[in-house]
């Protein structure tokens, strides 16, 4: 029970303080909307919130899914071959160093009008790097004895990968996935805000801006926060299922 009550009280206190801060300073809602402004703003557009929330969600998940596939593939290549790691790594680092906000308009122009493709691409591009790096490090730091145990029994390379290398890398993989899920979410919203006549919570945020509906913008922020928390905890649950063994019991 305490697990639920303590965070709940914390959220209520936070909202009260926020409300109080706005009320004491007599800030107008274009400077800072208060929690009491946000609920009406949400209610007014509740249909759009759910519709666009869904758009944002599935684009993020698809982008992340592609990032996992490509990231794991790249990570495997780099983890197993030193030569390929030396070849690919600088390219990856360089690509990752480019702030994705600068890539957004390029992609938006490249595939103009294809909002789904645009958004998924950015979500993917921003989030595959940590996955690739963590998988490659997990594989390349596998202690040689682990391999020798199976190799001395005549196990094939793929058997060693499935029995040992893959499960051993899972904790690192999920650590990276927690970072990647947040990044993918950022990527989705970047594109949704920039892409004209698009859909998704980012587009709703942008329309709040053009219509000077400031409480709407704040309401979108809250919706994004909720969606982000949800996505994050889905990864946490998956981690518990597939890599729960890595957690040391603390009792």
């Amino acid at each position: 029970m305490r697990h639920i009550l303590v965070p709940l009280y914390a959220i209520i206190i936070f909202l009260l303080l926020w409300e109080l801060l706005v009320w004491l300073n007599e800030w107008p809602n274009y400077k800072m909307a208060s929690p009491s402004d946000i609920w009406p703003a949400f209610w007014k557009f509740k249909g759009l919130f759910f519709q666009y929330g869904w758009d944002t969600l599935w684009r993020t998940v698809v982008g992340l899914f592609i990032a996992v596939l490509c990231g794991v593939f790249l990570g495997m290549i780099m983890g197993f071959s030193k030569v390929l790691r030396e070849a690919i790594y600088p390219l990856l680092v360089g690509f990752n160093a480019i702030p994705k906000a600068t890539v957004v308009p390029i992609i938006a122009l490249m595939f103009v009008g294809q909002h789904n493709l645009n958004t998924i691409l950015i979500a993917f591009m921003i989030s595959f790097f940590p996955i690739a790096v963590s998988v490659s490090i997990g594989l390349s730091t596998l202690e040689p004895e682990y391999r020798d145990i199976l190799r001395s029994l005549g196990a094939s390379k793929s058997l060693i990968f499935w029995k040992i290398a893959l499960p051993k890398t899972l904790p690192e993989f999920f650590g990276a996935l927690k970072v990647a899920v947040t990044l993918a979410f950022i990527g989705t919203n970047l594109m949704e805000i920039v892409s004209p006549h698009g859909r998704g919570l980012g587009a709703l945020f942008d329309s709040g801006k053009t219509n000077s509906d400031y409480p709407l913008m704040f309401a979108v922020l809250i919706a994004l926060a909720l969606l982000g928390i949800g996505l994050y905890y889905v990864v946490v649950i998956l981690e518990k299922i597939f890599a729960g063994w890595a957690e040391r019991s603390t009792d």
Binding site: R151, S152, L153, A246
Partner: protein
């Protein structure tokens, strides 16, 4: 130096092995010949870095010798083969598997006719032999270092290998735990006879466990000295403090010093 017999289980015949490093060739083993008879247990001692671990890789087929041959049960070794069981200083248990599933791992790889129930029974039988009864479903992280090493020994033996290769399996344990495990090894040998090679740095361990102790010279390693150790049916730790044992330890110690100084000179 060909002191081996044709029917010995492990035969190492004039083996030479050289590593190619960036700074040139590094000969680690030179003209090494030794053999272990069936159900024999030989300890190999020598200075640090003299090529002992390379020797284990040559016997298990993970490495091929540049010259000479290695035979297991009369067959020349060219690739790794399932008739070998290995345990290292690091127990390398898979943390995501329970202890019993760890022990059963070789049975998933080595071809065998056991069904899943028989595999489990086989693993359980070994675990109780080393005193891990009741720990079958625990995760490796819940066990102490000594217990993990016991489980690792079970895994090395579960598929009834012809040859057991132990590369300093007790090196990282504290002195008392190590002595416990020496007794475990004696139990295992009695119940599950195997032919084995034990790499170790501990001279007391070598004479307590093995029938024969081979001292390797400094790098490149060859057989410098060997001594047969008479064994009683029920070896006791006290026997290590008998004058016979102490004399043996002294002569082994002397041989190690010779090997060490030789390795220094060869640097």
């Amino acid at each position: 130096m060909s002191s081996y017999k044709k029917k010995d289980t492990i035969i190492i015949k004039d083996v030479t092995h050289t590593y190619k490093t960036e700074t040139g060739l590094l000969p680690v083993i030179k003209n090494l010949s030794m053999s272990v008879p069936e159900n024999g247990f030989t300890a190999v001692v020598g200075p640090s870095g003299c090529g002992k671990s390379t020797l284990t890789k040559l016997i298990s087929g993970l490495l091929q010798p540049d010259e000479g041959e290695v035979y297991l049960s009369g067959e020349k070794i060219t690739t790794p083969r399932p008739s070998v069981g290995m345990a290292f200083q690091n127990p390398v248990l898979l943390e995501w598997r329970s202890i019993i599933k760890n022990v059963m791992l070789p049975l998933e790889i080595v071809p065998n006719k056991l069904n899943s129930l028989e595999k489990e029974q086989r693993a359980k039988q070994l675990l109780s032999l080393v005193g891990l009864e009741g720990f079958e479903q625990k995760k490796p992280s819940e066990l102490s270092g000594g217990m993990r090493q016991r489980a690792s020994l079970c895994r090395a033996l579960v598929h009834k290998p012809e040859v057991l290769i132990l590369d300093e399996p007790f090196g990282a344990l504290d002195a008392f735990t190590r002595e416990d495990l020496w007794q475990v090894m004696h139990n295992l040998r009695k119940e599950e006879p195997f032919t084995g090679i034990l790499i170790t740095h501990d001279l007391r361990e070598s004479i307590f466990l093995a029938d024969e102790v081979v001292v390797l010279s400094g790098r490149p390693a060859s057989k410098q000295f060997f001594v047969k150790v008479p064994k009683s049916k029920t070896p006791k730790l006290e026997s290590l403090y008998s004058s016979k044992s102490i004399d043996m330890l002294k002569s082994l110690r002397k041989q190690i010093e010779i090997a060490q100084s030789q390795q220094e000179q060869n640097k």
